[in-house]
């Protein structure tokens, strides 16, 4: 079981680009075909090319910072809340939930 959350940083909830949201969802579900079981265990380190235009405007990735670090400016590489998914690719809930 995997999850894609239409929340920041991948989606601007105050003004979502719905075309981009549809692209994210289509990628998340379409990518579950052959080889689709290989989900990232952790939030992806950088935005995936799919749906890129639709994402919130962000600065280019710096070094090996995670998307969460880029979004928050904090040192922690991923959110503290269990189950919180970050990035344009769905994440495996086994990895997100202890």
């Amino acid at each position: 079981m995997s999850t894609l959350q239409l929340s920041p940083p991948q989606v601007n909830t105050a003004n979502p680009d719905w075309e981009a949201v549809r692209a994210l969802v289509a990628d998340a579900i379409g990518g579950r075909g052959a080889g689709g079981d290989a989900l990232p265990a952790q939030p992806s380190p950088s935005p995936s090319p799919s749906g890129e235009d639709a994402l919130m405007e962000e600065a280019a990735p710096e070094g090996d910072q995670t998307e969460w670090q880029e979004y928050t400016g904090l040192n922690e590489p991923s959110p503290a809340d269990p189950g919180r998914q970050v990035g344009t690719d769905p994440s495996d809930l086994d990895a997100l939930c202890p």
Partner: protein, 410 residues
């Protein structure tokens, strides 16, 4: 009767009261042995033969299930949610129970001494009554369970909607590769007006493998779009559009269902409309919705005996200083509700993540066996809180999908 009397003429003499009771007791696990003992060979052979044949049939079915690598409990659960199987099972239980009771009573009648003192007759009658209760009580519980299940299924799951494709048990998803279901958690507290769908997720399930992707929608999504030909689109035209959050769409439709609902004739026009609106916005054909209110979720978790959660960091909740302490803990309904609801020291997105974890924990821990063993409390909670447009005919297919999705790696 004449044949029976002929047989009885050649039968051994009736035993003492003690031995008669022993033969009667033996006819509980082996119906017909008392008849054989008393020379009623035809009756004894038929009764014992039918009984052993029934046992062999059940054993053969269990072996068949094992050979086909299928969960017997899942198969039972799938059968239990189909009215024809459930009714057939209830009729079978009733008939078998009546026959079994008749055999026990008759076993005593043909073995008891005819000239026993009143005291021994009363003792014999009491023992036979206890034997009958041993059979009747489990049967009564099974029949009550069947009745409860049937009532709950009828109350929660409806008939197919007009325009739905006909149900084909061999191809329940009509060839679709994925089935999408909107999962809603509504907050309808008594101290607040109306209901808000604070938890919204779309479960997109691969119909072949059960592999599931949960699409989480924050409650505070703005600028929700409506299908162009809908009354909602006319009511909230561009450029301003819908001037509220996504979690208010349900209540907005609830206030004017005859005007704003996509289909005012369905049981829950608001949830049905929200299903269509979310599907339109994220580009998915969402076939069904399932909604519980927050208090109902608490009751459902309590009904299955709680849920085990590993908490790594303390989760404060509420306004009274409650804290879910770290550790591997079995949360009751109240605690599980706060696990998925608390925003103290967190935010909407944090609790949305925890709600996804709750779905995973429930899917992993609440198996068909748990549902069957806690059916009474679960049926009551489900009937009170769950609303859905999933037709009853599709429930076995969903159970099969859930069984697939519980396989490792799904």
């Amino acid at each position: 009767m004449a044949a029976e009397e002929d047989q009885r003429d050649q039968a051994p003499a009736r035993p003492s009261t003690g031995r008669a009771l022993l033969w009667t007791v033996a006819s509980l696990p082996l119906p017909g042995v008392a008849h054989l003992r008393m020379g009623l060979r035809r009756a004894g052979t038929v009764i014992l033969g039918a009984y052993l044949l029934g046992l062999a049939g059940i054993a053969g079915w269990a072996v068949w299930i094992g050979l086909h690598d299928t969960s017997a409990v899942a198969v039972l659960a799938s059968l239990a949610v189909q009215n024809r199987w459930l009714t057939g099972a209830m009729v079978a239980v009733f008939v078998v129970t009546v026959l079994w009771l008749a055999v026990i009573v008759h076993s005593w009648a043909i073995t008891r001494p005819v000239d026993a003192p009143v005291g021994r007759r009363l003792l014999g009658g009491a023992v036979v009554a206890v034997l009958c209760l041993t059979v009747a009580l489990p049967s009564a519980l099974a029949l009550h369970g069947g009745y409860t299940t049937q009532r709950t299924l009828s109350a929660v799951f409806g008939a197919p909607q007009p325009g739905d494709e006909p149900h084909d048990a061999a191809d329940p998803w009509n060839g679709a590769e994925r089935i999408n279901v909107l999962l809603l958690g509504a907050d309808a507290a008594q101290n607040r007006y109306g209901a808000r769908t604070d938890s919204m997720m779309v479960a997109s399930v691969d119909t072949e493998t059960g592999d599931t992707v949960l699409i989480g929608l924050p409650r505070n999504l703005e600028n929700v779009q409506f299908p162009p030909d809908s009354v909602l689109a006319e009511r909230y035209p561009a450029p301003y559009g819908f001037d509220d959050l996504l979690n208010e769409v349900y209540q907005t439709v609830t206030e004017e269902p005859d005007v704003l609902a996509m289909n005012p004739t369905v049981a829950d026009p608001s949830a049905d409309t929200l299903k269509t609106v979310i599907g339109y916005n994220i580009g998915l054909d969402i076939r069904y919705f399932a909604m519980v209110d927050m208090m109902g979720f608490r009751d459902l978790i309590d009904a299955v005996g709680g849920i085990e959660v590993l908490i790594e960091e303390p989760i404060p909740y509420g306004v009274h200083g409650g804290v879910l302490e770290p550790g591997l803990r079995r949360l009751d309904g109240h605690e599980a509700l706060w696990y998925g609801r608390s925003r103290v020291g967190s935010d909407d997105y944090g609790r949305m993540g925890r709600q996804g974890c709750l779905i995973k924990y429930v899917a992993e821990q609440i198996d068909p066996g748990t549902i069957l063993t806690s059916y009474r409390r679960l049926a009551g909670a489900t009937e009170r809180t769950l609303s859905t447009d999933i037709p009853q005919a599709k429930v076995p297919a969903f159970i099969e999908l859930a069984t697939c999705s519980r396989a490792p790696g799904r």
